[in-house]
Amino acid sequence: MKDYAEPLARLIEELKRLPGIGQKSAQRIAFHLQRVPREEAERLAAAVHEVKDKIRLCSRCNNLTDRDICEFCSDPTRSADVICVVESPFNVVAIEKTREFHGQYHVLHGALSPLQGIGPEQLKIKSLLERLKGGVKELIIATNPNVEGEATAIYLSKLIKPLGVRVTRIAMGIPVGSELDFADEVTMLKAIEGRREI
């Protein structure tokens, strides 16, 4: 005998495919969806459909958008002289939260990771080089502070510096609000290397 009716079992199976959702969470969500009014469940289904139908990559920066050119690239108040390079659209959100960056973005959709078969060809580097022909003055590389992100940053800087564009890298070091005692040796070393005069 099956544990659940077929449609419910199928919903649980589909929910389990989502990141961070295990068997228990999938069961909870499936039972919740079964209980809520039909309109609420249909709103969720329609939202999923809409994302699949309308969301695409910005033709300039590769960020996720529902238009041809995303809101960051089409905003006339943002400087086109400075481009911040990030690995994923999530990272754009993280930088936007600071409200201190007023340039444009370029999303690589990954970082160099040979074990996952990701080399330079798999990243959105060609379109970045095209954008640099438009008189960009500075490129801020904000890839993750790990081996893959660092290798990507160095690879890009070697490619772009000869074009006469200033290439900078976001700082690495001790998180604000933590304590030096808990920093590991590599992080501490990076913090000392990246020190600045005050």
């Binding site: 990771s113 074990l115 081996v147 998180p175 590991d184």
Partner: protein, 252 residues
């Protein structure tokens, strides 16, 4: 430290082979340990910005790890770790990153889980140090390939034909899927150009000494051709395409 009943604690030196994301903030760390062989363990909270683990679980970090084993669970749990040596900075160079990823991939493919192999551990540490000191890829990887095959009992004979057992003369051949070198008479149709016997002898001689000693000497012979052959043998024994091999070739 109190060890809970039924949860034996293991302490060992280890090299991080690779990490994968788990849930919101955790990592699964694939390790080659000195005492227990290849293991996989969960490092809870390793992806949080204020994580106490910091940069410890970047690929190829040499550390001392304290690991709990839980009954009926495949994955172990990392309790604590101390850094012994970081190889973070050298991997900024893409070709070195490709090389270290190759080391990790071959180690994961050729060494079975939970089978102690201290010599393989020492080899990996020596090769990482060689890459760090020299910045060179070819000789450290050639040394790694040679010894990984030798430790696994797969190293082909450099003197006699794998097929007919006769002396190979001055030139030896191999092709895709080769397990060994063959003579001119047994040469497969898709064979590459011959490997000069002198190169094979030079490689065997070079690999009979510690890697750091070899790296201090001038290059003699063309070890890259022998390395490519050894890579082919490793691919054959891995029984699966190695993702990093193609990338190594692209990087020269």
């Amino acid at each position: 430290m109190r060890v809970p009943v039924g949860m034996p604690l293991r302490e060992s030196e280890a090299i991080v082979l690779r990490t994968t994301r788990l849930g919101e903030a955790d990592k699964i760390v694939s390790l080659l340990t000195r005492q227990w062989g290849r293991l996989r363990a969960v490092a809870a909270g390793a992806r949080r910005p204020k994580s106490r683990w910091g940069a410890l679980f970047e690929p190829m970090t040499h550390l001392r790890a304290w690991i709990f084993e839980r009954e009926n669970r495949d994955l172990l749990r990392m309790n604590s770790a101390d850094l012994i040596e970081s190889f973070f900075d050298m991997q900024k160079e893409y070709r070195i990153q490709v090389a270290t990823n190759y080391l990790g991939e071959v180690t994961e493919r050729l060494l079975p889980e939970r089978e102690a192999n201290e010599r393989a551990f020492r080899l990996l540490v020596a090769v990482l140090k060689g890459l760090k000191v020299s910045g060179e890829v070819n000789r450290p990887l050639g040394y790694f390939d040679y010894w990984m095959l030798k430790l696994g009992g797969f190293l082909p004979d450099f003197e006699r034909c794998h097929n007919c057992g006769r002396d190979m003369g001055q030139g030896a051949f191999y092709g895709p899927g080769s397990e060994g070198l063959v003579c001119r008479d047994c040469k497969p149709p898709a064979a590459a150009s011959p490997l000069p016997k002198n190169d094979l002898r030079t490689m065997a001689l070079a690999c009979s000494q510690p890697l750091d000693k070899w790296l201090r000497t001038q290059r003699v012979g063309d070890s890259i051709r022998v390395r490519l052959f050894l890579e082919e043998v490793i691919r054959t024994h891995a029984e699966r395409e190695l993702v990093t091999v193609g990338m190594l070739k692209e990087e020269g």
